[in-house]
């Protein structure tokens, strides 16, 4: 059975800076600048299907989601949705600053489609999940932004919808919160519920969604297996791609005055295939060399990397297989066959730990930075890191 059926859906927006004047528009015909956000979209989504929507900014992703959510109506075409829609389009929409957490749970819950009785039943779960303790009886304006988001997310996920729409909500909140979100979404997946996820995080879509839809300029360009579609999508950017590395920061040498004990990082540096070139050709690998020194009896260790965006938000992390340290000095390489982002900065945290992960021998917290600059402005993320040991 189909959960969502869209037939020939088109959506037109008129662009105007100000709201028009009634008295004037009665006499003077209005000039309108129009833009089609969606053009003849046909889409069937089956019950239990997990769909990711990808596409550049302005390709119509959010408009599509808003139409499915019923927030706006298509200019042409028909929409049919079977089942209750829950949306994580905006967390805590409708929270009122002067109302307490408790009052806001009821306000938000009813806005999202629950009756008071149904909220009564879920109230305790919502409060427990949001984890805001005593603050529940305080006005929202006294909350930290993290608490507000947690409360909003908690209400949204306890709605128990048949269809869940998610629009980049995972881009907010701290690492712990994001993990909680992803966990909740995967729980949803197990319950065989339908969900649609809009995200620039390609890895997330590959992992959480079975199908992917690639939107471009308001049209569905491709639809199919999420791994295949995202691959095609990413490949479309690789054509004539030139990446410029112009940062002097791509190298860190560890201060030699440190006590020479244990296992230490010695140097971390980015290596281009052609060392003299500041450009990285499209087919180049991104390679980071990590040199270490071992002053101890430790035989082997694990190397780990964590990647953060400019705001310090955790994006990705992976640890190496077992590395033999018996030589005293040596290096490992971290290799990516594609650049993780097209534009912007990434912060790296490197660590060396014992094999069970319990002891940290050395740690460089967000001290290594790489800047990426591409001609095309895309916000996709692609983490495909490989460890190369000597």
């Amino acid at each position: 059975m189909d959960a969502i059926i869209l037939q020939n859906v088109s959506k037109k927006y008129s662009l105007s800076q100000y709201r028009p004047i009634l008295l004037k528009s009665l006499f003077v015909p209005q000039e309108k600048e129009e833009v089609w956000a969606l053009k003849n979209v046909n889409l069937n989504i089956k019950k239990g299907e997990t769909v990711g929507i990808i596409g550049e900014n302005g390709s119509g992703k959010s408009t599509l989601l808003k139409i499915i959510a019923g927030i706006t109506t298509p200019t042409k075409g028909s929409v049919k949705v079977n089942g209750r829609v829950g949306s994580l389009i905006e967390l805590g929409a409708g929270f009122h600053q002067d109302l307490t957490g408790r009052e806001n749970i009821y306000l938000n819950g009813t806005l999202l489609g629950l009756t008071k009785k149904e909220i009564d039943k879920k109230y305790k779960d919502i409060v427990d999940f949001a984890d805001i303790g005593e603050f529940i009886n305080q006005p929202i304006r006294t909350y930290s932004s993290g608490m507000t988001i947690r409360l909003g997310f908690s209400v949204a996920v306890h709605l128990d919808p048949d269809i869940l729409l998610i629009d980049e909500v995972l881009a907010v909140g701290d690492e712990e919160f994001q993990r909680k979100c992803i966990y909740k979404i995967s729980e949803f997946q197990k319950l065989k519920k339908t969900f649609i996820l809009v995200s620039h995080n390609i890895t997330l879509i590959e992992n959480l969604c079975k199908t992917a839809i690639w939107l471009e300029k308001g049209k569905i360009l491709k639809r199919g297996d999420s791994v295949k579609v995202t691959k095609r999508y990413l490949n479309s950017f690789r054509v004539e791609k030139k990446i410029l590395y112009k940062n002097p920061e791509n190298k860190i040498i560890i201060n030699s005055k440190q006590p020479k004990t244990g296992v230490k990082f010695k140097e971390i540096r980015y290596i281009a295939d052609n060392a003299n070139s500041t450009f990285l050709s499209p087919n180049n690998h991104l390679k980071i060399m990590i040199e270490y020194e071992n002053y101890s009896q430790i035989k082997s260790a694990l190397f780990g990397v964590a990647v953060y965006d400019e705001l310090g938000l955790h994006l990705y992390g992976v640890s190496s297989p077992k590395v033999d340290l018996s030589d005293g000095v040596g290096c490992v390489y971290l290799v990516m066959d594609k650049n993780p982002i097209s534009n912007g900065k990434l912060l790296f945290t490197f660590g060396i730990s014992s094999l069970d992960g319990h002891i940290q021998y050395d740690w460089l917290e967000k001290e290594y930075t790489l800047s990426f600059k591409d001609k095309i402005n895309n916000n996709f993320l692609n983490f495909n890191f490989k460890w190369v040991l000597k």
Binding site: P20, L99, E103, Y106, G113
Partner: protein
Amino acid sequence: MTKRKFAYLKDLTISLTIKELKSKYTSATLGFLWILINPLLQMIILTLVFSIFLKIEVENYPLFVFSGLLPWMFFSLSLQSGISSLIANRDLIKKVNFPRELLPMSSVFAHLFTFCLVLVLLTAFVVVTLGPSFLLLFLIPVIVLETILIISIVLLLSSLDIYYRDVSFVLQAMLTVWFYATPILYPIEFVPEKYFAFYILNPMVGITTSFQSIFLHTNVATFTPILISAVETAILLPIGFFVFKKRSKYFADWV
């Protein structure tokens, strides 16, 4: 409409109304006292001006002004806030799907609540000073009629206000004229006969004269004006709903 749907609409209306009330009064130091202070102040000033300076010869003039002023203030305040309620809640409209008509309606209900509070006080005062009367029961249908009249106008105008930016200014100007075209400061008998047929088309005439005759136990013929008011409301309500429903599909694009 299923039972659940009805319960949902009821609960959402209550939630939104409570939000309106709390957001308005909880942050103020005197809180809900402001509900009483403003109409009392206005009544005192108008009574002073019209009984001391202008010397209008009406029996029990303060009570007369107050009983007309109360339904008028309910009308004018809920019209003003109801019409801008969509713009005031633009975040909700852009991000959540729910029956949009509940926004202007809950704004009216919030004013209805405060109106009823003041009305209870006035009724108590009348019962103590003039003695109880079964006439007071007629207040209920009149309040219901006035609320529906307000909702009809608010639905129509708020769906225009969200698109056109001058609607609230036009309304403001209209309300000023409307106030003097309604028997509040003067009794309906003062209206010259040759204008009466036109004057009585104002749907608020029936409302305020009903309040005045109920509270003051006068025998003014209120039947014709209240009937006109009811007929006009019956015409306005479906128009308001129809226009609002038609336009509400695109609210999210306009705000």
